[in-house]
Symmetry: C2
Subunit: 390 residues, 2 copies
Amino acid sequence: MTTSPLTPAGFPASEFADRLALAQSAMAHDGLDALLLTAEPDVRYFSGFLTRFWESPTRPWFLIVPVSGKPIAVIPAIGAALMRQTWIEDIYTWDAPDPDDDGVSLLADVLHRICGPNGRVGIPMGIETHLRMPQDDWAKFQTLSGLQFGSDSGIVRRLRMIKSEAEIAKIRAACGIADRAFARVPEIAQAGVGLDVVFRRFQMLCLEEGADWVPYLAGASEQGGYADVISPAGPDPLRQGDVLMLDTGLVRDGYFCDFDRNFAVGAADQNIRDAHAHLVETTLAVAELARPGTTASELTAAMAKRLSAFSGATEAGRLGHGLGMQLTEGLSLISDDHTILEPGMVITLEPGLTLGPDKIMVHEENVVIRDGPPDFLSTPANPEIPVLEG
Amino acid sequence: MTTSPLTPAGFPASEFADRLALAQSAMAHDGLDALLLTAEPDVRYFSGFLTRFWESPTRPWFLIVPVSGKPIAVIPAIGAALMRQTWIEDIYTWDAPDPDDDGVSLLADVLHRICGPNGRVGIPMGIETHLRMPQDDWAKFQTLSGLQFGSDSGIVRRLRMIKSEAEIAKIRAACGIADRAFARVPEIAQAGVGLDVVFRRFQMLCLEEGADWVPYLAGASEQGGYADVISPAGPDPLRQGDVLMLDTGLVRDGYFCDFDRNFAVGAADQNIRDAHAHLVETTLAVAELARPGTTASELTAAMAKRLSAFSGATEAGRLGHGLGMQLTEGLSLISDDHTILEPGMVITLEPGLTLGPDKIMVHEENVVIRDGPPDFLSTPANPEIPVLEG
C-alpha cells in the first residue's frame, strides 16, 4: 500500500496564476469580459477545487474568470470550507438546494458587478462541453443578468490541451499506478474466475498501487477477441482461448491515465499473438511520428495504413485522443481532426484491429508530445501477449 | 470475494415496459409527442443501457421516448453492440466524434420523422438535470429540426422518484455491501494510518464485498469532529481523539447506496459519544415519521427540532435526499421542499450536528417509504460510536 504521495498534492498558486494569465490574454484579444464555468474540470482547472462531490447532480457550481483579477467562486455553502483551501479569495455562497432560486440571482448579481451592464461573457460551448446547470435556470439567469452570452471561442479547451510539467507529472504518476496493477493481473485472473470478479479485483489492485479512485474500467473476455470495448462485466468465467482486455482510467490527484492491456487465457493462437504484436509495433512506430507539427489527421492516417496491412482498423470511431483531467479530452485521432501536435499535449495511441465478425483487439498507450520523439507515460507493452493460467 | 450476483443483473423487459407506459400516459396528458433524453440516468432508465463509458465526455448519446411505441436510440457507433443487448430495437448510429456533425443532423431527422413537422418535444429542464450535449450543437439542432422544445414538466423526475421493487432490491444490495465494508473498518483504520490510505483500503473493502465500482467516497478524520463532508483525503495520519467519518456511494448493478459511518480513534470524549447517540436516535425517531402523506418539509422540521435540542443542525444545506440511479436524486429534506412522501421512494435521513467552530458530525441511513413505517436498507448504526485502535 502506497503511503506517501507520488507527487506533491495539488499545485502551487503559480500554476493557477499562469493558467489565468494565458486565459486573460486570450479573453482580452476576443473582447470577453469574463468566462462563466460550470463543469467540474473547467472549475478545477482555474481554482484547484478537487472533490468527488460532483457525483451528486443536485447543486450547480459556478466559477467566474474575469478579464482581470482572480477567479470568483459562486457556490453552494456546503463547498465553502473546501474552496477556502484553494487560491480563490472571493467566494460567494448560497444555501443549496433552493427550489426557488438555486444560485441564479446571486450569480447574476456577481457577474453583473464584474462585467458591467453590457458585459460579454464566454462559456465553453463546443465539443466535449456541456452546461452543468438546469436549462430552466440557464434561461432565467440569462434574462436576469442582462448580459451577452456567447462562446468562449474554445479558449478553455485550447489551454487545457497543453499540459504543464506539473500536470504531466500527475498523469505519469497515474500511468505508473496502472502499469503496476496491470503487471499483477496474473495474480487475480485465471480461467474459471468470473469477469465481474476480475473487474473488482483489478480495481482493488489499482487502489493498492496508489489510485485515489477508479472512475473507469471496461473490458471483455471472449474467444479469439471481443465484441466491444465499453461493456461492463458479466459473471461469465474466463475460459481457455479467451482474450481478456482491461481498459482503465484511474485517477491520482485529479489526473487520469487511460490505457488497456490484453491477455491470453491459457494459450494464444498464432493469429492472436500476431495481432497483439502488430498492435504494439504499430503503436511504437506511430509514436515516432507523434511530434510537434504533425496533425492528428496525419497520425491517424499513418496508423490506419499500418492496421490495414494486417486486417483493418476497428470501427470504434477513433484511434486515440487527448487525456488529462478527464478520461478523454482535447484532440481525436480521426481523419477530420486537423489539430497540430504541440509539446505538452498528452494523448493516447489506441490502434484497434478487426479479427472477424464481432471480434476486435484494441491496444493503448499514453504519451506526451515533446520536441523530438514523444515520452511514454505508460510503460509500453511487449509485443508478446501475456498468457494467464488456463 | 462475492462471485455470484446478489440480485439478477439488469431488469426484465416488463420493467422497462412499465416505465414507458407511465411516461407515455403523462406525455399524452401534457400533449408531448416525444421526450428527448441526453443524461446517463435518464437514458438508462428507459433503455437499460449501462456502461461506465459516460466517463468520457466526448460523445453525446440520445434516447427518444415517443408518445407511442418503444424508445429509439440515436448513439455513437461505439455503443451499438451494447445497446443491441437491451430491449431497444430501433438503434441509429453515427461515427462519433465527428467535428462537423456530431449526431445533430441524424437526431434531427429521426426526431422529425417520429414527431411530424409540428411536434412538441419535452426535455428534462428542472433541478438536478442538465443537457448533456454542447450548447453549440443544441442551438444548431433546434434550428435544424424545426420542432418545438420545452420542459418535460418533470415527468422523468417524478417517475424516477418512485422505485419499483426490483429497483429497491438493487439499492438494498448496494446498502448491504456498504454495511459489510463499514463493519470491517477496524481492519484497515487505526491511529497512525494516513487518511488517504484509509480511503484506498475502504474502497478495496467495498469492492471485495461486491461493489461493481465506488463512484463516491468522502470523509474526514479530525479532532472532536470535522470541518466538512465533501473533502478528498490528505496524507495526514489518524490521531487519537479524531472522529473518522467515511461517506460512500457505491454502485451495484447501476444503483447507489449513500450513507456514512463515524468512528472514534482511540477513545471518544463524552461529548462525541453523546452527539453520536443523539444523531442515531434522531434518525430512528424521524424514520418513524417518514410515512406516506408526510412532506419532505415536515420531516425536515421534525429532524431540525431534535437537532436543536442538542446543539443545532449543520449548515450543509439539507438533512437528507432521495437516491437511486444517482448518488442524490429526487426530493430534498429542506424546509422549502413540499414533496409528499409516497411508497417506493428511497431516501436518506442525514442529520448533522454542529459541535463547535468548524466541527460537525453527520450521520446517514437509507430507507424506503412503505405503507406504515419505512424499511431500512442500511442496517441502522448503534448509538455507541465504534472505537478504533488508538
